[in-house]
Amino acid sequence: MYLASVGPLRTPLRRVPGNVVALGIVSLVTDVSAEMVTAILPLYLVFGLGLNPLQFGLLDGLYAGATAVLRLVGGHVADRWRRLKTVAGVGYALSAISKVGFLAAGSTVPAIGAVLAIDRAGKGLRTAPRDALISLSSDPSTMGRSFGVHRALDTIGGFLGPLVASLVLWASLNDYNSVFVTSFALATCGVILLTAFVRDQSPPPTPTSRGLPMLSLLREGKFRRCCVWAAALGLFTITDSFVYLAVQRRWDISTSLFPLLPLGTAGTFLLLAIPLGRLGDRVGRWKVFLGGHLALIVALVIVCGPVGTWWLVLALHGAFYAATDGVLPAAVGPLLPENLRASGLAVLQTGQALARMAAAVTVGLLWTFWDLRPALLAFTLALLAVTIAAAIFRPLEVRR
């Protein structure tokens, strides 16, 4: 854990700022903690507590919207107080505390809802200041690589989470509380690592402007165009679960293997996050971002068509994430003034997230009315049209 102090690291993380690696490791540990709970939550609620799935069907989904709003709050407050690390830390700490909340909540449905809300609130708060810290700790010319390294480390955590949960369940003879306690311990380790090894970046003080600086950011042409195009693409980006369902049906994948499909996506994301981030640094991040959407389009065409294999679809789906998830903030970050970086990234990512939520609802409706294949094809065509438009209108030209 000397990463932050030893300066530049040797290959493969050569020349990646120590602060970015430290943030990546914090995310890795936190993601192990979060994913182990996600993995057992349905099992815990239905089997451990004997709740009927209908009783909490409404619990989820409600929070996605709240998270989006809190992301804006997190970004705004972090910039306003010039305390990116503190606000991110509060977000990590909230999620850590929520893990022990499960022990206190017992089988009371509203209490479980509150615990989940606290967890999502923490995630919402921390995202924008964390990405701003990555952005401010990196050289603008290699920002793609920095985000790539962070996202790769984050994904490793996502891989380990279910494995750790399974190990704890096995070792404790199916004791769900043990999973929550372990998850809490890991999340708290994440907070400790953040406090000890991540250096805060202090941007210059905000000019004393009244009102919301976020709105003034949107007056800046390049940034506004990036937000609009990212949201427009998000509107036609098919949600993961639909992709997996379509893959399962197309190749008739056994239901016991079905939950493993996301691992295929995560695996490629992990492998490609750094190379594609670096490619973006070299040839232009917006090009890579759009290329990622092309990968998704090809994946969906394969799902609907007569040729191809399921692993190719998952690989392309992972490539889509590797080319978009970290590349977008890396592309837009340098456009933003240092003292408004968290706010700007929050606006960008919130717009994208809300658009993707709308997409999920639309696909769900189209699926109900038309069936899955026509719904996917219609969405894929629309995404192709928007991608071509985004390539023609080019909201930003990265020189490098």
């Binding site: 369940l169 003879l173 679960s241």
Partner: protein, 326 residues
């Protein structure tokens, strides 16, 4: 810097150590004494005079299959070594559903047992145990498992109902291929879910709940022809009386709340036995006019209750669920 590293290392080690201690404690944790009288080493077999159930009373035997005489349900519980999350028995066959420890995504062992509770066959299928039944002639065992991640909502659930022919060894992992007719037309939909099979005495006719597009249907099906017809709506977890005249079921009151109800198959009349408390299980018939069902108690476990079609409910066995008579 060095001091920061040392403090952080101590913090991380303390947290990880604490978590490991907690897990180790949970492994051999739990109460050392049974909260209710329990006897071990007694034979447990089907004699037509025994009530089997899953023992929920705190202690080393919690979660085990237990037995009491039907005539004296308050007697000390006989337990063996068999642990089941869900149990059912009829004629000379029993089924025990058990969640596999540490399996993610969840997998369930389905264990078919004979009249002496010896294992005859075992299958492992994805999902968590929800319902289990044995046909009155003992030739079919059937089950319903909850499966996650099958639907497009991340926390959406679906049910998977299957059956196993004990004599031939034929396994039907899911009955979703059943040809179903609603209002005389063959029904097709991608979101069909089935739960809670109940077989008639002839070992061919069965009833099951089918849900699709927000409506639940009671399906009357013919196993050999493998086709079914929707005969009613809002009838969940059917349970056919031994004389084949009535179906006891859970009737939806609001989202996540159900109450006891009985459908007379000849007259299509629905009556409510005198217990309006919320239930969530497939009911069990004791004879043709008494119903058994678990209800949640103040300690957040379950008690077994019984109610007549017109006579008031009474507590049968506290801290128990998954009843069966054999």
């Amino acid at each position: 810097m060095r001091r920061r590293v040392v403090v952080a290392a101590i913090g991380v080690l303390a947290l990880v150590g604490g978590a490991i201690t907690y897990v180790a404690h949970a492994r051999d944790g739990g109460a050392a004494e049974n909260a209710v009288p329990v006897v071990t080493g007694q034979p447990m077999r089907f004699d037509g005079k025994t009530l089997f159930f899953r023992n929920l009373a705190e202690g080393p035997d919690a979660g085990k299959l237990a037995a009491v005489p039907v005539a004296d349900p308050g007697a000390a519980r006989r337990v063996g070594e068999l642990r089941c999350d869900r149990f059912a028995a009829a004629h000379s066959t029993a089924i025990c559903l058990r969640l596999k420890a540490g399996s993610l995504p969840a997998m369930t062992d389905l264990i078919v047992l004979d009249a002496s509770l010896r294992e005859r066959h075992r299958e492992t299928l994805p999902g968590t145990p929800s319902r289990a039944r044995v046909s009155p002639d003992g030739r079919f065992v059937n089950w319903t498992l909850f499966v996650t991640g099958d639907s497009y909502a991340a926390t959406g659930f679906s049910t998977r109902t299957g059956l196993y022919e004990v004599d031939t060894g034929r396994l039907v992992k899911t009955i979703e291929e059943l040809a179903v007719f609603v209002d005389g037309k063959r029904y097709f939909a991608s979101d069909v879910n089935y739960w809670g099979i109940t077989f008639a005495a002839d070992g061919n006719r069965f009833y099951v709940t089918m849900a699709s597009k927000g409506t639940t249907y009671l399906i009357e099906a013919d196993y050999r022809a493998y086709r079914g017809t929707a005969i009613a709506e809002n009838v969940e977890c059917p349970s056919l009386s031994p004389d084949g005249r009535r179906i006891a079921f859970k009737q939806k009151v609001s989202n996540g709340v159900w109450r006891l109800a009985v459908l007379d198959l000849a007259t299509r009349r629905i009556t409510h036995p005198p217990d309006a408390r919320p239930i969530d299980d497939q009911l069990v018939w004791q004879g043709n006019d008494t119903l058994l069902y678990p209800l949640r108690n103040s300690g957040n476990t379950l008690d077994l209750w019984s109610v007549g079609l017109t006579t008031p409910a009474k507590l049968l066995v506290p801290q128990a669920t998954s009843p069966s008579f054999t």
